[in-house]
């Protein structure tokens, strides 16, 4: 276990969610969202790139961001399960982004305050504002769908039932994350709980949604234990690089 793996976990979260959101490009229900989705995806992929680059340098084995993103298999990916969940519909997509951004915003703010790693603070400074926008954009959709028509409200409730079980994993620190926390590089994930609860509570109150009790949270992503969807996602994302190693455009 090594400290660079904590950055890989973060980078994988951002790349996988960025790719998922990017899947909407060209398929969103209206032009405005067809632009908003790639905007959000590119925010996430931008953070992932810097984190991969930094992780590769800390590891010191000469792995580039492309090596880390395109040449690792499913079991080597360390993203949390939430971000790999399929898009399904707008309710699932927006709720997934809200859950993730409501965690990452306080995480990056705390990083800015306390991290001793200049590169990580650099990512935090940029990403903190991006996550604030993702909370706003996804939150407004969750409110409108949850407090919307009969069908949109039912879909929103289905999304909560499907995705809430993956949220506890956000607050768990792997052994690598513990190491990064002890070294003062990253904040303690569990400490984001109050800030997350506050954002989700506010949005859910307006959206007429209730957070369910989760007796059996789904975890395992940090150990490389993923749902079957991640393999398909990676196959698509990595196919070009694997067919044409080192391709640039």
């Amino acid at each position: 276990m090594s400290i660079h793996e904590a950055l890989l976990e973060l980078a994988d979260d951002h790349l996988v969610l960025g790719h998922r959101i990017g899947e909407w490009c060209g398929h969103a229900p209206m032009l405005e969202e067809d632009l908003a989705m790639p905007n959000m995806a590119l925010d996430l992929i931008g953070s992932a790139r810097t984190l991969y680059d930094h992780a590769g340098k800390l590891e010191g084995k000469g792995q580039s961001e492309d090596d880390l993103a395109y040449l690792r298999g499913e079991r080597e990916y360390r993203n949390c399960l939430l971000v790999e969940r399929p898009n399904e519909d707008f309710a699932h997509t927006m709720l997934r982004s809200l859950y993730f951004a409501a965690f990452m915003r306080p995480f990056w703010l705390k990083t800015l305050e306390t991290s001793g790693d200049e590169t990580v603070r650099g990512v935090a400074g940029k990403a903190e504002k991006e996550m604030a926008y993702h909370i706003r954009h996804a939150g407004e959709w969750v409110i409108r769908l949850g407090d919307g028509t009969e069908e949109s409200a039912a879909r929103m409730r289905d999304a909560v039932a499907a995705l809430h079980i993956y949220t506890d994993e956000l607050f768990e620190s792997s052994p690598a994350a513990h190491e990064a926390e002890a070294a003062g590089m990253l904040p303690v994930r569990a400490e984001m709980r109050d800030a997350w609860d506050e954002v989700i509570g506010q949005v859910f109150a307006e959206a007429m949604l209730e957070a369910p009790d989760v007796p059996y949270p789904q975890t395992g992503g940090r150990k490389g234990l993923h749902g079957e969807g991640l393999g398909h996602l990676l196959a698509e994302m990595q196919s070009l690089h694997r067919a044409h190693p080192g391709a640039t455009w």
Partner: protein
């Protein structure tokens, strides 16, 4: 989405300049309209401020009255600032 209202978008590129009409977007309400305008029209650093207004709230001049509205100004060139010499001290106007 055919019932989603249309909004006109105005962007101020820099402090000190005015908001300028850049186009239109569809959105369910004013909050979503500002977000959609941000996502569609400020992706390349075009703006520091956004206004949106419902297209239905804009009162436009009648194209049939274009003649009586605009042609009478054609022979009043003395209204153009280029008619006057600007003192050098004034600088760029």
């Amino acid at each position: 989405m055919t019932t989603t209202p249309l909004w006109e978008v105005f962007i101020r590129p820099r402090n000190g300049l005015s908001h300028k009409h850049v186009g239109s977007i569809h959105a369910a309400d004013e909050v979503m309209a500002v977000q959609a305008a941000r996502d569609v029209y400020t992706r390349r650093g075009e703006g520091t401020s956004i206004w949106v207004v419902r297209s239905a709230d804009i009162v436009a001049s009648d194209p049939d009255q274009a003649g009586e509205n605009f042609e009478p100004t054609a022979d009043k060139i003395y209204r153009h600032p280029t008619f006057y010499e600007i003192p050098e001290d004034v600088g760029h106007m």
